[in-house]
């Protein structure tokens, strides 16, 4: 269960979030809204990358303000630009990065890394330099690197925006099939069709919260 209680947050001069309250336990939650409406700010609240100026965010009872590190272990985050998420020079090393401090034996880390790479179509890419991957492969790698730490929730901020149609569909299908709880920020409304619930943001406020068809209707209405 994720709860956002009366959260307001300022970025520079701008009130990026304005008294947002919502809680959700659903498996698949979408977030939509115009550019600058506060979606990314909202997403960053959920793993404590942003601690709100006022209000409270808790993830399964843990406060993001007090237990930030604990929360980040439970909530993985996939960003838009895969290049900015890959920190090690080669594929397997990057996936293993998140397990460095897990205390797991080396052999177990190697096994988990190759498992997750196999599962997401990067089997055999272990020693490839990350910079030689295609955009879609980079985003797959970023996803693998997050999933290998087995977070309970994965928050994705426009993970397919920089990808071509085929890779976007591939990543979209993989996300929809994950066992983890997913919070997906996207402008690709088709990705949300199978979702349990969709939140609509407008100018920092939560203005819609419904099943996909209704929420998307609300969004289209806002866009005029």
């Amino acid at each position: 269960m994720i709860t956002v209680e009366d959260v307001s947050h300022r970025l520079g001069e701008r009130l990026a979030l304005d008294r947002v309250s919502v809680d959700f336990a659903e498996h698949r939650v979408g977030v939509i809204g115009a550019n600058g409406s506060g979606k990314s700010t909202f997403a960053r609240l959920l793993n404590g990358l942003i601690v709100p100026d006022s209000g409270r965010v808790t993830v399964d009872g843990l406060s993001t303000a007090r237990d930030g590190k604990e929360v980040r272990r439970k909530v993985g985050f996939v960003f838009t630009d895969p290049d900015a998420q890959i920190v090690m020079p080669t594929v397997a090393e990057d996936v293993a990065f998140g397990l460095r401090r897990s205390g797991l034996p080396r052999a177990e880390i190697t096994r988990r890394v190759s498992d997750v790479l196999d599962r997401f179509g990067l089997g055999g890419f272990d020693d490839r330099p990350a910079h030689l991957l295609s955009g879609g492969e980079k985003q797959l790698l970023a996803l693998c690197s997050v999933l290998v730490t087995e977070p309970a929730t994965v928050v994705c901020d426009e993970p397919t925006t920089l990808l071509d149609l085929r890779n976007a569909r591939l990543i979209g299908a993989l996300l929809a099939g994950l066992a983890q709880r997913i919070v997906l920020v996207t402008h690709d409304l088709a990705m949300l069709a199978s979702f349990d619930r969709v939140l609509v943001f407008d100018d920092g406020r939560l203005v819609g919260d419904d099943v996909p068809a209704v929420a998307v209707g609300r969004y289209r209405e806002l866009m005029g």
Partner: protein, 213 residues
């Protein structure tokens, strides 16, 4: 993008040796090279270095890429030495340099960055007491290696965009847009590192850096 300085996957004995041992061997090898002053000894050392490359099955192209950056400096050094001493002495100085770099290149080609970082972290361990965080130092090194192709990519994109708009010449005009994008990248990277738990305290979940088999 030159492939110099990157891991070349393989299953050779050299690939499987512990990184610590390889680095110690490198230190010993370079010291040895510095002590050899007979040209024919250096010739023998060159054969050994070449043989090691063969054992590691490193393609000649990659091996040469490791020493290519030395081309101009090596030529300059040779010229300068020729003015100062006899040709045997000049040649041995240059050969020592080239062989040392080739040896270091061989270690880089056969050792994963993460394994090197583990060694670096172990070596820096004693500095923990004076406030150095060895894992942080290791992370900075990894990010630097990873950052080279990323920044090269950014520079390439900016240059293309520039050309697409028909502006040619004036390479300094690219500096500001490249810098802006690099800073934006650094900002995003900082977020990603935090999200991936890079700020975890080393002791918070017991880390094992003893990977030596």
């Amino acid at each position: 993008m030159s492939p110099a300085g990157l891991y070349h996957p393989g299953a050779s004995v050299l690939h499987r040796l512990p990184a610590g041992l390889k680095l110690a061997g490198l230190a010993a090898g370079v010291t040895g090279l510095l002590l050899l002053d007979q040209l024919w000894w250096l010739g023998a050392a060159a054969v050994v270095v070449a043989a090691l490359h063969a054992v590691a099955r490193v393609p000649a192209r990659l091996a040469l890429a490791q020493v290519r950056p030395l081309l101009w400096f090596g030529a300059f050094l040779l010229g300068a030495q020729l003015l100062l001493t006899d040709w045997q002495r000049a040649l041995s100085v240059v050969l020592t340099l080239v062989l040392s770099v080739a040896l270091a290149g061989l270690v880089t080609l056969t050792t994963r960055v993460s394994a090197m970082l583990d060694v670096a972290e172990t070596l820096l361990g004693p500095l923990r007491r004076v406030g150095v965080r060895p894992d942080r130092v290791g992370l900075v090194l990894a990010l630097t290696i990873r950052g080279v192709p990323v920044i090269a990519g950014i520079a390439g994109t900016v240059r293309e965009a520039h050309h697409a708009r028909g502006s040619v010449g004036r390479p300094w005009a690219l500096l500001v847009p490249v810098l802006v994008r690099v800073l934006r990248h650094a900002d995003a990277l900082g977020d990603a590192l935090a999200a991936r738990g890079a700020d975890d305290e080393p002791g918070s979940r017991h880390g094992t850096s003893s990977d030596r088999p």
